[in-house]
């Protein structure tokens, strides 16, 4: 029983992280039809920005109110979204709308390459450590194991993010508009929707979520170049499994990948690295649309 519980808890923690990291990717695909490889870079930039801001915060006397570092982290993610969102979407991606999906992947791949080095140029190649936020929430004892409170906070953050995205899409006016654009951008435009603004908004939301993932992760790791490289393919796996463009799908995908990985780590460590891609390949083979693909209306 203990092992099962451990796997579940580990799986949930990892799934929470995966969801936050992947939901932005699937949202951007759903609205803009672009599978954004640079999503990994936005994650990494979020991590660096968070590390910088938190570092600056504590250097400026933040020890008086350490929880302020969490605000710094979220602020970092917002900054990334506000600066890079418009820059990338208005400055580059919008020239490629409506073109071949794979071509757009190549464009985002080019952006990814560029941003990888931009990060090195801005933040250098040495690792950043900002562990204080990670320690602020103490530890939680479960059975015979100790977990860091922060890890559970990530699960909570994932749930909040998930609910927020779902509620926004399904219960707000703007959300309904976004759903309409997802369904058919052209028709939406003829009905008066400012599709350009929706695209920009959706991309910024996706960038924020990517950067938030990085920001939340920064205290748990040493922030080094190449973060984005590993994260993006894991995010791919999650959104492919769940179905490109589906937010509930990203949640299910995150759970599946999270639990598989946790199970593998505890039961079959040799499989840890490949289990994710194995599941991704299996899903692609048997259900290429994923488990909950974006609904496509029949065009004729």
């Amino acid at each position: 029983m203990d092992l099962v519980a451990t796997i579940l808890v580990d799986g949930l923690i990892y799934a929470g992280w995966l969801f936050i990291v992947s939901v932005g990717l699937t949202l951007v695909f759903g609205v803009l039809n672009i599978l954004n490889i640079a999503h990994g870079s936005l994650y990494a930039i979020g991590a660096y920005a968070s590390a910088s801001l938190v570092g600056a915060y504590f250097a400026a006397g933040g020890d008086a109110f350490p929880y302020g570092s969490y605000i710094a982290m979220i602020l970092a993610a917002v900054l990334v979204a506000v600066v890079l969102g418009p820059l990338l979407e208005r400055g580059l991606l919008r020239y490629f709308y409506g073109r071949n999906e794979v071509l757009n992947v190549l464009v985002t791949y080019a952006v990814f390459l560029i941003l990888e080095d931009v990060m090195k140029l801005i933040w250098g190649v040495n690792p950043y450590f900002v562990y204080e936020p990670y320690t602020l929430l103490g530890t939680v004892e479960m059975g015979s194991l100790f977990y860091v409170g922060y890890d559970f906070a990530v699960i909570a953050a994932a749930i909040i993010v998930g609910l927020a995205v779902w509620l926004t899409l399904n219960r707000t006016q703007i959300g309904k508009v976004v759903l309409a654009v997802i369904h058919d951008a052209e028709i939406s435009q003829t009905m008066g929707v400012n599709v350009k603004r929706i695209y920009l908004g959706a991309f910024m939301a996706g960038a924020f979520l990517a950067a938030l993932g990085g920001a939340l992760t920064a205290p748990m790791i040493s922030v080094t170049p190449g973060l984005g490289v590993n994260v993006i393919i894991v995010a791919f796996a999650v959104v492919i499994i769940g179905g490109l463009g589906s937010v509930p799908g990203a949640a299910i995908g995150a759970l599946m990948v999270g639990i598989s990985r946790a199970a593998s780590v505890h039961l079959l460590p040799e499989a840890e690295l490949f289990i994710i891609y194995f599941v991704m390949a299996i899903v692609l083979v048997f259900r290429p649309e994923g488990l909950f693909a974006k609904t496509q209306a029949r065009k004729i």
């Binding site: 580059l92 080095d117 931009v118």
Partner: protein, 313 residues
Amino acid sequence: MMRFSVFTYAAVGFVVLAAGAIVLPDWAMFLFAMALAKGLVCLGIVGMMRGGVVSFGQGLYYCLGAYTATLAANFLGVSDIFLLTLLSAAVCLVVGLVFGPLLSSYRGIFFAMLSLALSMVLYGSLSKMSFIGGTDGLNIGAPTFLGWAPEGRPLQTALYLYVVTIVVISGALMRVYFDSEQGLITLATRDNELRVEYLGASVRNVMAYNYVFGALLGGIGGTIAVLALGHVDPEFAFWTTSGEFVFVAILAGYLSVPAVFVAAIILELVRSFSNLYFPNTWQLALGIFLLIVIVALPGGLGSLVSRRKGQDT
């Protein structure tokens, strides 16, 4: 009459490249050998691009070929380069025949993602197989050439001439294939699969052929690369490795075979140059390059010499 041309080009290409054995300093010969080996993998991607799909997972075969050669050399004592190449090609052929029919039903993003997933499965598996080096990988000794065991500069030269020969032969064969009836059907498939099916051909077969050729070329490229480097590790199958192959294929376009190898050489030169002088900018250079190609030269370098327009995807 036209066939004569392909062989003429091939002969000229061989002479030009082979001259490098005399002219190039050691570091350049190594760089060219690596570039040509990788160019073989990219040639496979180009073959598939002619059918309308982009593979983000050729690292699978690049890695598989390299590991097959290394394992054969280290555990079976095979050192002959021709034998190693043949073995790798055979293994990659078998694997390609297994995955080819599967992948031939996929297009666009799903083809890209599935090919990527398969290569990452290999990456993940090899990383954990500590009995064959895990993430550290394996070293491979110098190859022999039908009994001859050169060392130093002669070894380098022999390896270089070997890859030049393979490249010229593969390039010529692929050119013949591209100009053939099946080659034209491949181009038609990229444009209008429905029409090709209605004309009576099997689109799945077309895609499968191109995939298998890609597997073979990938495996051979990987074999030569590991022999030039002396080392292989799971990174050969990592997605960024595959990404570089795609970059070269896009830069080259699908209209000209020599363009593929020119593009591969350009990549290696940019990598070396930038590593030497501007260490943190080579990916930046690649990214900008790629954007420029996509926007300004969608048919790749090959479109500069071919009358056809061609689009990269």
